[in-house]
Assembly symmetry: C2
Homo-oligomer: 145 residues x 2
């Protein structure tokens, strides 16, 4: 599926090293970086789904350095060219090492894919604040997981 | 051992969740945060050591969300109250989940501790630039690993 309006997928470099690799995440000079608010990790067990959540102010920069995570985005914006569309992508440290930038007002849910650890880093433009986020139960935005 | 002058150890929260935990890393409002330059990961295999490296401009914010990593710091600053001292600490996602802030001009080396993946996130105040970093072979700063 195509990306939703304003969503950006940026391939990231992995620099191989015999003692342990280096994996890029985000630079302040990256064209789609604006401000730093907070960085935090989230883990998700295989098959489990966290979501739906929609931020009214936060732009997410999602990176998966360990395991694989499936992200499903739903465009609830009336003014968007991709209004009411879904978009899905699997970010993986081994197969698809990219940064997924999600603008405000897009619904997000994500599911663990690997048996082992699935780790997500979000580098957000503002700090976590439950006041600016809406949550809906999974079944309220119907998607065939 | 005590921390070297200007080095800060900040305990971080882990929010337990049955689907997968949330692990704090860094907020812009944290008292020892200044600017965002770059975030990148480094992995280190058990027993392997990366170092020594000294940054002339970069302040490191080191976080270990997976596994455990031993950091050894050596104070090569003439003006420091801890000049020529070593300091060691093991950061671990399970036993000692903290952020280690390392100011410029401190030598750093680190060693993988766990059998499985050891993952380090560095949120630095400037972008990676080999021009502002000095490297020395491990044996040039003698430490009993």
């Amino acid at each position: 599926m195509d990306l939703l309006q304003g969503v950006i997928l940026s391939p990231l470099k992995i620099i191989q090293h015999p003692k342990g690799n280096v994996l890029h995440a985000l630079k302040q000079s990256d064209s789609n970086f604006h401000t730093f608010g907070e960085a935090y990790f989230s883990t998700i067990a295989k098959g489990e789904i966290k979501g739906w959540k929609k931020h009214r102010l936060m732009t997410l920069n999602l990176i998966v350095p360990v395991g694989a995570i499936k992200f499903v985005l739903f465009d609830g914006r009336d003014e968007s060219s991709t209004s009411n569309q879904f978009s899905e992508i699997i970010l993986s440290a081994t197969d698809n090492y990219c940064r997924l930038t999600v603008p405000p007002l897009v619904w997000v849910a994500f599911q663990g894919v690997d048996d082992q650890l699935n780790l997500l880093l979000n580098i957000a433009n503002i700090e976590h604040n439950p006041q600016e986020a809406d949550n809906r139960p999974l079944e309220q935005i119907v998607y065939k997981w």
